[in-house]
Amino acid sequence: MGACWGTVRRRINLSDTEDMMKPSLLLAAVVVTFTAPQLCAAPPDFTGVWGVYRGGRGADPKVAPPAAGALMLKPEYAKPYEARRALEAEAGKRGEQLATKSAQCVPYGVPTMMSVAIYPVEFIQTPQQVTIISEAFSEVRRVYMGVPQAKIDDVAPGYYGRSVGRWDGDTLVVDTVGIKTTVPGYRGMPHSDRMRVTERISMPAAGYLHDQITIDDPVVLEKPVTYTLAYKRMPDYEMVEFVCDNNREYIDENGVVRMQVHDK
């Protein structure tokens, strides 16, 4: 249904151009506008800024984020993963934090950028593309609508990979591949270049958004892991820029995060 709406809007968008002055195109746009609504329900509009919503006591269970599924790594990956977590915990007891990429202002990438601390995300939705901007580190991802996904091996590995989307009723389904293996995964999990992220983004109630994220990685995971992020609309919020040009945290010779103090 949604794809139909997307097609309609694409044609109507011609009216925004000077081509609209051409009588033949004007007629085409009008015809589509009047014939389509009976056939195609418009998908929801996610455009706007969304703040992290944690639910909490007394929250409507319909809009609160449901519990996450278990993260089950294959044994050969679970062992070093748990060892690293143990080292981090030991360092914490000593009052130290071990180096992280974020402490060096390296962005999070997909899917972690979808929820960083309490920073909002902004959706800009058009029929052809949904653009998602995370305020933390000003990360941007683009979801191309109604186009086929590329083969994983044809996507240059990066922080955001390649995302394509389609409407499944009122749910935006986003498929992402091509996240490079150096980008930490969900809860810092390792992942292979075979990782595929599937998101089902929907509004469980007016003013709320859910992003159900499923990570499938046949190399690293025993089975796909699913978790859901919840957001609440921030109607008047203007996104704040985040350019990491004054990072005073550095990594010392022992791999520990330190803060640089100034003498003057």
């Binding site: 360092a91 934090q97 402490a103 309490i118 580190f137 985040f242 803060m259 103090v261 003057k264």
Partner: protein, 125 residues
């Protein structure tokens, strides 16, 4: 539910608070040498007369105080112009554990008397 989500996403954007002694509070009364409205953190650089908070350096001890990012600070009423060079201010901070003259802001008293915290909730830079 909060615990579940906490496991799913970074609680802090940039780094943890481990380097600060969150159980200790120090009050600094001094003169702002710069207010840096920057990412990933904002900073108050402040000269504090030597009768406060430890060792001296020519009668003045200089401190670097870390805050949340501008986005976080705006949620508790801060603006880029809330402090200016030369402003007299009082800061309550959690000091660095390593003894260096730095810390994490808990609350600042501005020249106009307003008291501003470090974001909508403590520990959210």
């Amino acid at each position: 539910m909060a615990g579940v989500l906490a496991a799913a996403s970074p609680l802090l954007a940039h780094h943890s608070f481990t380097m600060f002694d969150m159980s200790k509070r120090i009050t600094l009364v001094g003169s702002v040498t710069s207010f840096e409205w920057t990412n990933p953190h904002s900073y108050i650089e402040i000269d504090v007369p030597d009768d406060q908070a430890g060792t001296t350096l020519g009668g003045i001890k200089h401190w670097s105080i870390e805050m949340g990012s501008p986005s976080i600070l705006m949620q508790s009423g801060w603006k880029f112009s809330s402090l200016r060079k030369g402003d007299k201010t009082t800061l309550i901070i959690n000091p660095l554990k390593n003894g260096k003259a730095g810390g994490f802001l808990m609350v600042a008293t501005l020249p106009d008397g307003r008291m501003l915290g470090n974001g909508p909730a403590q520990n959210q830079p």
